[in-house]
Amino acid sequence: MTHRSVEVPVIARVEGEGALHIKVEDEKITDLRLEIYEPPRFFEAFLVGRHYSEVPDVVARICGICPVAYQMSAAHGLERLFDVQLPPGTRELRRILYCGEYIESHVLHIFLLAAPDFLGYDDAIQLAADKPDIVKMALEMKRIGNDIMATIGGREIHPVSARVGGFSKAPRPKDLQAFLPRLEWALAQMPAIADLVGSIPKPPFDRPAEMVSMVHPDEYPLNEGGLASTEGKSFDSTTFEEVTKELHVEHSNALHSLMVGTDTPYFVGPLARVNLNVDRLTPVARECLPRTGLSLPEPDPFFSMAARVVETAVAIEEAIRLISAYEPPEPSMAEVTPKAGRAMWVTEAPRGILYHRYDVNEDGTIREAKIVPPTAQNFEHMEADLRQFLPGVLDRPDEELTRLCEMVVRNYDPCISCATHFLRLEIER
């Protein structure tokens, strides 16, 4: 009998801490565990008893890379429960803020976290030594995303202005309009970026998969919309907990998600969104799509980087459109009167759908919280990918095999910090 094991004690270039253990005996995988050892932080537990107005500041701390996603799912859900009438312009300003986060998060992943893999480097610093112009361009694009977030939110990591009821202060039109030339420059880079990503060879991988994303009749979905899957399912955010379920597995400090009924994994994120929203792509995004090599429908997670490129173009074009027409909401914050009940909302975080539920007491304090982050929804699918992918590459030397396994995981741009912070701890009453 031949034994072989692949051990990746620390998966690099992902957010948070994970490890991968694979055992192979006689060309068969006998053990495969994506171990999530990132310690739990119990957000859902300590939200209990806190005032609703503190929720956006609390949940931002779940993730330094996508704080806006957490703030948006929380604010929208609570506002719907409280029947808040948002001042005109709030919706648009939130969308611009979210576009900034998409640009920042996607460019970070494409160039600094994923591209080094596909191009054979350890990191972006090595990549920069060989191809300084690409890395310089990527850093400038990322900075545009960061700067938009800081202009609207005060700072790009854990912005402070987004509140339940709107914004504590709205930026002046001229502050946002200053981004237009930079965004036009960024948009002009997109076709060449699409060509570059399209030219990168990727390992062959063919498997059916169910993908889930939001859908919206008029726009590429970010803050609002229904939910749909590539298997033809269609549901509302208020039934999220009936359609999906979570599983607690021993080797992971994050829960795994499955579809109720079939008990099968599904996956969320840029590739799911592009597949389900191809008709809502913006013009340059549409032009970039074939140049990345992506031809829809496409469930192969190795095309996630291509989908991120397409979505970066969407975010840039949407930011240009919305900033050009921007008028500050007046007042910036609506009156909010809390009431008892259940708040539920889904938004599209850069890594996929992010579900929040808050049960609220009459005095506006939180009785129970549940948050299902995109990466937790993807873990089960990541493990399934590895089981499917590995048999085809077992002939490769250890070092290459390890790198390939890490790439399978990195396709999902996993945010382990996010996923782990949701070990759900509810108090029984």
Binding site: Y37, G64, A124, I125, L423
Partner: protein, 269 residues
């Protein structure tokens, strides 16, 4: 990579959101220019290339909150000539230290599908509770400028000077309208150290303490003022017990305004 005389820098993560590490990634260009350049030899979030110690400068993000981290932080300390803890988690236990006043095991036992899978400490604590720390940079997230200044100064053999002045003073210097006076909104600005540029009041809302307590903070008067503004004792206490709520000055303030007892003491009495 060739061996060089450049200072070897490592970045490690404990329980956290990655936001402070992201500040480092965002400062990468500036870091490379620093002091004739440094070698970042271990930074898992940014690179597959990970070298073992010893390190000249080590940055640690996150709090100690899991059993294996107790050993890990000691090993990192042994390998590091200079150890800097960065961010609210590493310097005060972070927002996850809110569990320090609750019984975490009780939660786990009563509701978790498989409590035996969950390995966690009862408390989330700052790095300095476990090993000697040479410098603490507070903030949620840290300020990029403070980080670059501190690393540059240390590498030049100097001692970084971090302001302990308050957000409140910074507001006055900037001429920012006081949100507590004008809107009656609770604000931790009078007792929170600066570093953010008085961000929240500038953005029309109260400070919530990202950079931790100033020196010395008059929390007692502020707690009384919160109650006068109409906050319940619980909410006044919660205002201190937040992002940096496990920092001793804020912990004591939260206990004092909430009838002088911590929730743990109340629960066990």
């Amino acid at each position: 990579m060739s061996a060089s005389a450049k200072p070897r820098v490592a970045v490690f993560k404990f329980a956290s959101c990655d936001g402070c590490q992201l500040q480092i990634i965002d400062a990468e260009e500036a870091l490379l220019d620093l002091a004739g350049a440094i070698d970042i030899v271990n930074f898992a979030e940014a690179s597959s290339h990970m070298e073992p110690g010893p390190y000249d400068v080590t940055l640690v993000e996150g709090s100690v909150s899991a059993p294996e981290q107790l050993e890990q932080i000691k090993e990192i300390r042994e390998q590091s000539a200079i150890l800097i803890s960065i961010g609210a988690c590493a310097t005060s236990g972070g927002i996850q230290a809110l569990r320090n006043v609750k019984d975490v095991n009780e939660f786990i036992r009563s509701v978790y599908a498989h409590p035996e899978y969950v390995k966690t400490l009862e408390t989330s604590t700052p790095i300095a509770d476990h090993v000697k720390v040479d410098l603490e940079l507070t903030g949620c997230p840290i300020d990029r400028g403070q980080l670059l200044d501190a690393v540059a100064t240390l590498l030049a053999g100097g001692v970084p000077k971090i302001s302990t002045s308050t957000v409140c003073v910074e507001c006055k210097l900037r001429g920012t309208v006081c949100v507590m006076v004008a809107k009656g909104e609770p604000c931790l600005g009078p007792v929170t150290r600066t570093g953010c540029g008085a961000l929240c009041p500038t953005w029309g809302r109260g400070c919530y303490g990202c950079f931790g307590p100033s020196q010395p903070p008059n929390t007692e008067a502020l707690g009384r003022r919160f109650v006068e503004l109409g906050l319940s004792k619980q909410r006044a206490s919660d205002t201190f017990r937040f992002i940096t709520g496990w920092a001793p000055a804020f912990r004591e303030a939260a206990d004092a305004v909430g009838d002088g007892k911590s929730e743990k003491e109340v629960a066990s009495s």
